[in-house]
């Protein structure tokens, strides 16, 4: 079984990368910031902000937080509910 981190993309960010879900191969823990850097190197990813709102396993997270294979990282565009 390949070790990976699930990345969820929503709204405009999903449009930028043309995907709502990606699996990033990851054999060891890394920071949320490192996950974002990898996404920014993908086609369409350059327009992602360097420090977007993020969640890890449904809770808001910071760029310095550590994620491990099996975690779910979500990139959240600026919220517009209500």
């Amino acid at each position: 079984m390949t070790a990976s981190i699930s990345v969820l993309l929503f709204a405009r960010y999903a449009e930028l990368l043309g995907a709502e879900r990606l699996e990033l191969a990851a054999s060891a823990p890394l920071t949320v910031g490192a996950v974002i850097e990898r996404l920014r190197s993908l086609p369409g990813g350059a327009q992602l902000p360097a420090a977007p709102l993020c969640a890890v396993n449904l809770r808001q997270a910071r760029l310095a937080d550590i994620v491990a294979p099996g975690d779910e990282v979500a990139l959240l565009p600026p919220l517009a509910g209500g």
Partner: protein, 149 residues
Amino acid sequence: MYLTHDPIDVGSLAHAVHSPARGGLVIFAGQVRDHHEGRAVRRLEYSAYPAMAEAECRAIVDEAATRWPVAVALRHRLGVLEVGELAVAVAVAGAHRGEAFQACRWIIDEVKRRVPIWKRESYADGSEAWVDPTAPGGTMPAAAPESST
């Protein structure tokens, strides 16, 4: 379930919090406006990170109930909405109106602040955009409109 794809029925939310002990009922209902930042809105589409949005709504409702002695009902619509349809509704009942007003206002502010929901607007001229309160002009470009055929 705080999120729904069906039309919101404010009466049923009011009924859910109603009790003879709670004399004050405050309702906030937010509906789709016909304009945004000077542009004529035709309809819009709400999307969400459903699992996190449900969790955040539940956390907001639970926190309100610890801060004020009130009963709370909350519903946010997802999917395509026409102008005038309800996007969100909050019903708060308490023995005293001050608490009900405070809790209702706090809840809708928190929903807007921390529930992962996004809004794509369709304008009268056929263009579309993502609502982004942090962007100059209040929107960011969207990919080609779904309505382009």
